[in-house]
Assembly symmetry: C3
Homo-oligomer: 470 residues x 3
């Protein structure tokens, strides 16, 4: 059984109480016999029975369909986040590097899709196929259920179809890589980056994700991360941070005198669109991670999650809006955009249990974290082109810790162990891979190419050739 | 019970006829006894019973799940309209004001989300909590059903989960504010605008919406507005119109000699994208307002609404295309875009009862209204940057009146009273709030700032810094 | 009964075995009597019965709702492809022709919507209303099921509501026209193009589609095209190809010395967004073409289709990425974008039966076809502005042939006959219509207008008026 949040599934399983049906049967029998016998006192008993029968609930197969549909809808929404990341990042780089950013984003998604079915999915959800129990799954290719599989032949009748589960989980894996691409933009070479993506999505991400969602050791330990504040967002953030450090800053970003030169993004309309698309996709990201909607309880939970996810994004945007106005006297659009995203990241570890006010506040803290840590990154000469590390890593840590505020099943120790374990593994594995790639292929374009722009030198294709550059 | 269209719900409730089940039981009993007794004449009775049983329908819990799912899908589609409005408006302002427009749109949505859960939702759907019966609901914070609520504990088992309902209705509230932001663009200050948004979405919109959708006095009066031609679109249009009047036109728009200087939008690709996104979102807007899809009748209605909504948008675009070609010899893209939106607004008051031809024609009239009233606005020196008043207010009035053409439950008196009541309240309340804000904070940026562009002067951040301005 | 893929429906129909319920009844009776009689041996029988009852499946009405919902979701996703095509094409034309491309795309969709309900839908699905049996349906206006239709009155209780079916199929028809608009961009006049669109969507497309999906002669012949590699994509490709030939190349594209002058697109960010939107929409395009999700088998099939569709797109992008790197030493973003689309087109004829590896490979071949045929088109002086013919026609033929690789019901003869029949009819009918329009209205703008740009000369409205042209 595969799950982002094992707990929920439990709830769902309990729903099928066949005994409910049985208890109704004597009543039904009486009701049925009554007219045949021509007795008079039928009315009340029949009424009662009938109403109970009309309520009786949801068959397992209908639940299976609903759960599968949740993954299908969640999957296409999270897929669209690839477009959101692409637009966000393409708008935040300079126009001379836009084609490269577009190419990297569509290529990384495509390679992630291949790497994940080739090995990633089975590593992440090993079932009984662990190499090291709870730590490392066996790499195998994914096979879906056969065409036209009947309900009594599906892998897990209490869950959802394998195809929908794979489709949904693939999108999470790809999102992890999308987080990296923005951070290392404007100076990394295409192919070394893509090699990193293949290893990240085929091996690194699935291994650590198996610890929690594949019923590995972190899950046993009690670490709770509903939809992946740590498992997806911080994981991507750690990979991005190590990339930034190993790659170095863009030339001209940090003056020799410690001065930070702002390099504004070339198309903020595109970036804003990207954030709206990400926000939309997040409804699938968090809502789908309920993993079930085939009962009133499950679908009501999905509803709560939708409302809370939206509240946290709003909180993040407003938090960043107010704080950037207060700090800089002028509100900063890119901080508000990243604030909304940080709000979303913050609620992702627990979008179910908070109430709307709490969700708004959890998101607002995420937005505030962005406003505070973006300049801190610059002070440390960590050149994160799109603010991916503040948004995904820092707000992701906050969101993972914040689970204890509203979910009594979470422990502060469990959360910290999860954060550290994921952080150490992701940073370590990413650093090793970045360094190996650097040694073999090189990571950075040469300085001339960086100054001219990657689109001309690396690709020979401008994104906006008809427009004069200012 | 919350509803956009009380009528529909009635239909749905009738669906649960537990007696249907009961009537089958004697038959079932016979069928069951027959094999046990080894009798011969089983075949026909059994067959008949079995077929009836397989048809018997949908349990209340399954209906509850379907209805909730409709709100979830409808909610994320209507959410995406925030992106549509943002892109439409960002493309129709000049590039020097684009960052401001982007910032206003993401901020207004976020503030609306907070204002609506803090007080708006409960004002709009007071249930028994009216301050003035049918006129003014008690402001309270929204609380959703508890986590993992079981079906026998949900607020309204014949409807949908509270969380999904809140999620869906919030998006309508935010749309009202998005309508305003385009109309008053390019000269309004950020914070005064946002204060207006908070009051609009927390108080003004919910109060008037409670009259119809919260089972208030207009609902009692027989006013019919399925998904909000008046309640959302004209309401937003009135708030926009009063803002335009109090704010005044952009400098340079109207010459002293009565000459109208066209101020073209800077990015029509973005605006066209915005219209496509809005069109997409409208399927959730109107389709979701059926409020139920847990029965064949309800889901067939949702289907009709989808088809009609699309037809009206197409009618509006074609109406504007042909009329602008005929009047100006050159078809006008911005009129066609607004024509499609006006078609959508026109069908919103009654997307269910028209047939496809009628829906197309209702939309076409909306498109024609736009082509005719956009220059009329200019003649009256009402400077509506994006055409929000023609699209949302004028076509909204038309759509509200057009209900009587296809829905025999509607009366022309009922519709006119609704239009007037909403108009008087929205215009009055908006004007008072705009004037108070103007007195306290001021509304307009200074003229120098307007000429230089709000992005540089107010925000210090250009939307397209890499491109030379023409 | 309407279907994209008759086969699937068969599977679904078989699902309703009312006898399953009947067989449980004696058991139920025993279970019911047991407690009444106070007998001892109840436990096991009751348990068994109860579990079976809880599994029993899905009633016809619930299936009807799920199927209808699939069309609704599929329909709005495929609708959004209109936005995808629009952005793709608007980004691939020069900025001086962008407004025209935007106008053409929103107008063609709107006109297609009208033409399809006026005559197209009934031509495509004649039922018993053929003029020439299996070849030509009777043109009639579409009428949907009545408002609030009860389940026992719906047209086809084993399928889905007519409104949802119409809504879904309309989007396919419009997609065919969107394919054409990019190919003939930058030199065709607006109104002649739109007249072609009306005839294409009202008559030409529906006639050939009726042969396969309307249960016409190609369906009888055994031609299999699940979601329309040929019926939609190649059909659109043939219409585009004849248009390109009759219209001629853009001036300056091909030098007198046989030199090909590349004309780069003006906004590749927009084009990339368009491809992501198309990719998203394709989940509805292929997934919805399963035509059912009201059973575990059907919804598991939809899941497979989603996963395979995504895999093929990824394969197409990666195929084009690697081949363009290998051929040109610099990977080409526009080829990668078109490669992803070609992967999608390739899997469209059979997205269900391949496994993930096979789907990836089928898509990769599609991507390779694009990289190879785009320069071939230029060598033949066929000026296809966006690469629509390689993507939709060539990859569509490949995809149609590839059905035999994984679906044993397909025959190579059946597929070739389908490809040829559709090709001959589409090319012939399109050519005749293009030539008649050319004779009556003219097709091309004059040379001066082409050089100045259509936006200024034909429309008087620039897409990006604030930006200096390079």
């Amino acid at each position: 059984m595969r799950c982002n949040a094992t707990r929920t599934l439990g709830t769902t399983q309990e729903r099928y109480d066949p005994m409910k049906l049985v208890k109704l049967l004597p009543l039904a029998l009486v009701a049925a016999l009554v007219p045949a016998m021509g007795l008079a006192q039928e009315a009340e008993a029949v009424e009662e029975m009938a109403e109970a029968a009309a309520m009786v609930g949801v068959t397992q197969e209908v639940t299976f369909i609903f759960n599968t549909l949740l993954f299908i809808i969640g999957g296409f929404l999270v897929f669209f986040m690839a477009a959101g990341f692409c637009m966000l990042e393409a708008g935040l780089v300079r126009s001379k590097n836009t084609t490269m950013q577009l190419l990297k984003n569509i290529s990384l998604f495509s390679l992630a899709a291949i790497a994940y079915f080739a090995v990633g999915f089975m590593i992440m959800y090993p079932g009984d196929g662990w190499i090291i129990d709870g730590w490392l799954g066996l790499p195998m290719m994914t096979f879906l259920e056969p065409v036209g599989v009947s309900f009594d032949m599906v892998d897990d009748p209490e869950y959802a179809s394998v195809g929908s589960d794979f489709f949904f989980q693939l999108m999470f894996c790809a999102a992890t890589a999308s987080i990296v691409s923005g951070a290392v933009a404007e100076r990394i070479k295409l192919w070394p980056f893509l090699v990193f993506v293949i290893i990240l999505t085929g091996l690194i991400y699935p291994i650590q994700a198996s610890w929690s969602w594949g019923e590995g050791w972190l899950d046993e330990f009690g670490f709770l991360d509903f939809a992946g504040s740590s498992i997806v967002h911080s994981a991507g953030g750690w990979a991005a941070l190590t990339g930034i450090i190993i790659l170095g800053a863009r030339s001209g970003k940090y003056g020799p005198d410690g001065k930070v030169n702002p390099i504004p993004g070339s198309n903020l309309a595109l970036s804003t669109l990207g954030v709206f698309i990400l926000w939309l996709g997040w409804f699938g990201f968090n809502g789908g991670s309920e993993l079930a909607m085939g009962g009133a309880d499950a679908v009501a939970n999905v509803s709560r999650i939708m409302a809370n996810t939206n509240a946290a994004a709003a909180g993040g945007a407003v938090g960043a809006l107010i704080l950037s106005q207060w700090l800089y006297r002028k509100p900063d659009l890119t901080l508000v955009l990243n604030g909304a995203l940080a709000g979303l990241v913050s609620i992702t570890a627990e979008p179910l249990t908070p109430n709307l006010l709490m969700a708004t506040l959890i998101g607002a803290v995420g937005g505030i974290i962005v406003v505070i840590t973006v300049p801190l990154m610059d002070r440390m000469k960590l050149d994160d082109v799109v603010g991916a590390v503040p948004v995904h890593l820092f707000a992701g840590i906050w969101g993972t810790l914040a689970v204890v505020l509203t979910n009594e099943d979470a422990t502060i120790v469990g959360q910290i162990v999860g954060i550290l374990a994921i952080g150490i593994f992701m940073a370590g594995a990413s650093a090793i891979v970045w360094l190996i790639i650097k040694a073999i292929m090189g990571l950075r374009v040469d300085k001339e190419s960086e100054i001219t722009g990657l689109d001309t030198t690396e690709l020979g294709m401008e994104a906006y050739p008809d427009f004069s550059k200012g």
